[in-house]
Symmetry: C2
Subunit: 455 residues, 2 copies
């Protein structure tokens, strides 16, 4: 009855060496995020299939591991599609479950609620190097906070964490869904072309402005509008990308100025908060909303710059009008962190003020940041990172001939050292002593003591 000794396709066993790095990173993540007031919570890995297939998850919904009904409910009778046999699935991210959790436990949670989740998610993706079908996600989210404090705290906390993990020289890119949409609409792109435009815009760092321009025209968008659109990404020498975007949008929407005089409240609530506007209702024309979005970005950038000295990492913070982020549920600022050691982003997030409302009549503002846990671990492993360990690791090797008293004396000494917090491995001495010693050294045991029969 030979069973299968390899893991299921696309999943992996985690060996001691990698596990040590993961445990170290998780402890540092928890310790760091807790100083920012984030609180660990956990949701079940298994979720209602209806919650997972509600069109919030984009492409991920086609990658769900579906779980079969059980007992009497599981019957082939009258079934025309296998999907009818599934009642649950494994979650593909932590955000859907978080919103369900928040809606379900609202009366027991503080307001705002700052959640930290570290957990496994599953996607039946094509297996490829470094990408697995079970992987760990690490999310922080602020629920119930409509002001930009949420964005500021999320970005500050994550930058601090990356610094503590030894990363530096990364770039935090910031955009706003409302500006992203307004830029496309203001140039005269038809509203229904938005998704198409964003997919092309998202390639900016790969194909450059000429490439984007060419593809937009090839996709059937009017060349004049495309030329106008590209102007957003070409600031004058004395102008920042944010100024360029603000000026051009406010000019187009017929309102001059819109800058901040520095004396207003920095903690305005998001103008297009939960449910106040819908995607269909977005227009390029609302100058007030555009000015508010620009001001939000200014606030976030100024505040993060001002706390830079408390963040143990060297990083750039930029407004990037080409940042898109795939998930359709974002409603406000969006952000992403990139690092040259990584092929792509090391984390990202944004504001999603309408997702909680799909679970309950209550609308609640929400904003989250997810870091690429598996990528961080693989970069640390590739770097040859070893976990700092202050303790000495000692191995006690017992010869087979030891009598009971000798064995007890050895165990007592091991117990004494363990009581002091030292790590003591007790093992029978193997026949191939040299090989055993080499293995122990490789394993970090700096001291090996043999216990032999003395009589």
């Amino acid at each position: 009855m030979a069973l299968t000794k390899t893991p299921v396709k696309g999943m992996k066993d985690i060996l001691p060496e990698e596990m040590a790095v993961r445990d170290y990173a998780i402890a540092l993540i928890k310790e760091t995020y807790k100083t920012f007031g984030f609180t660990p919570i956990e949701t079940p890995c298994v979720e209602h299939i209806g919650n997972l297939t509600s069109k919030q998850g984009g492409e991920n919904e086609s990658l769900i591991y579906k779980i079969m009904k059980r007992g009497e409910k599981l019957s082939l009778e009258g079934v025309s599609s296998p999907d009818e046999l599934a009642d649950n699935g494994l979650r593909y991210d932590l955000t859907v479950s978080l919103c369900r959790f928040y809606a379900n436990n609202l009366d027991k949670l503080p307001n705002p609620f700052k959640a930290l989740q570290i957990g496994n998610v599953w996607r039946a993706d094509k297996p490829q190097k470094g990408r697995y079908r079970q992987f760990t996600q690490c999310d922080i989210d602020v629920l119930g906070e409509s002001s930009m404090l949420a964005e500021i705290e999320l970005i500050t906390a994550t930058s601090t964490l990356l610094g503590k993990l030894g990363f530096s020289g990364f770039t935090v890119r910031l955009n706003h869904r409302r500006l992203l949409k307004a830029m496309a609409l203001s140039c005269g792109f038809p509203q229904e072309s938005s998704e198409k435009v964003f997919i092309i815009l998202d390639k900016m760092d790969k194909i450059g402005p000429e490439g984007v321009s060419t593809e937009l025209i090839a996709a059937g968008l009017p060349p004049g509008a495309v030329e106008d659109y590209m102007g957003f990404f070409r600031p004058r020498a004395d102008e920042s990308l944010l100024e360029r975007c603000a000026e051009k949008l406010l000019h187009l929407s017929g309102q001059a100025g819109g800058g901040n005089d520095g004396g207003g409240s920095a903690l305005a609530e998001e103008a297009a908060g939960a449910g106040e506007t819908t995607d269909a209702g977005d227009t390029a024309g609302d100058a007030g909303e555009i000015a508010a979005a620009v001001e939000d970005i200014r606030t976030v950038m100024a505040c993060i710059e001002s706390v830079r000295e408390s963040i143990p990492a060297d990083f750039r913070l930029v407004f990037d009008p080409t940042l898109v982020r795939g998930m359709g549920y974002y409603t406000g600022p969006i952000f992403e962190i990139s690092l040259k050691e990584f092929g792509s982003s090391v984390g990202g997030g944004g504001r999603y003020d309408r997702l909680v409302g799909s679970f309950t009549s209550l609308q609640a503002p929400a904003c989250g940041f997810s870091i690429g846990f598996e990528r961080i671990i693989s970069v640390l492993m590739d770097k040859g990172f070893t976990v700092p360990s202050p303790e000495k690791k000692i191995a006690f090797l017992a010869e087979k001939g030891l009598d009971k008293e000798e064995l007890c004396a050895m165990l007592l000494e091991a117990g004494r050292l363990r009581g002091e917090g030292q790590k003591v491995l007790v093992a029978a001495k193997s026949k191939n002593g040299k090989h055993q010693r080499e293995q122990l050294e490789k394993d970090g045991y700096t001291e090996v003591r043999s216990f032999n029969h003395s009589r």
Copy 2:
């Protein structure tokens, strides 16, 4: 499009208060077991359905969450049972996956290998108070160690852990599968009645010796043999249960003595190690094997008694000839820890020298101990246990009217305190200030600072 806000049936959301206790317990478990040389590993939650339904898991195999095939492999055509649509399942324990892991990664692991696993398992059991369909297990196992050092280390480590978690007054009960079988056979019970006998014997602490005796006779076992059998559990005043068992078994098998003179090796390898005997071949008659099993129990008990001073808990260690343990895969010593605060056992385990062999041609001795993680957490929660926290928790509340400079100054101060390791929550001041303060106090924020617009 209202989604479902409650968790799936039988599973639960873990709120911050419980999560803090769980995180504390997990950190203490890892810290303690690491001093004994155990190394954390992880296996996927998803396992081959064939590995889960190989008759090793007893009753648990009927409780598996089955996962459907995906893509082209998922078709109703020619399917006569829904089971044919499943290729994977969620693991119901950590032992099956551990053996698969060990067989798969043998060349990369030290020998012996001491594994620590903390992970979720799933069983579609009838939901009831305190029992959930997703729950965390915590196992330590020693693989590749045939001597009693494995049992000694497992029991010492787990007793130490329970002491550190604040438990005391527990009882470690010890038995040996070979003695358990020999006792039944030596009285003349037919071999095929063993399972029936053990199910009744297992009720000893509930129905007492008279109850067991009555049920055995009612089950059709010969009254004379039953009377003889009950003699194992009634030692003379000057006799321990282990002496009683040893003397009676060795007398019946025709060999006198068999005691240990104290000078022999305490680290003999398990006589009936991996694959050397099979269940079918067990007889009551092999006096050598019985003497070895008795000696094993003596060694384990003597060694644990000798290190008692290094274990921070008051506990009893007893030989209990009525201890059965359900799983069919045990081959040697078995053990269980009971505690009056718990309805039933707080953990248990034993030697399973043949399980690794079902994954690979290699036979490897193995022994494990699983603690009842969820029960420990629920007792701690019921006790009102709060996690010791040396840090001060400070809340910074920002008034909506703050301007950007004031907001930045507040964030900078928060960053400075966080850099010192303090926990600082930054939140917008809510309209109901009194309620917010009360909530923060309940949450452990001992200091609350308000930041108001000063101009």
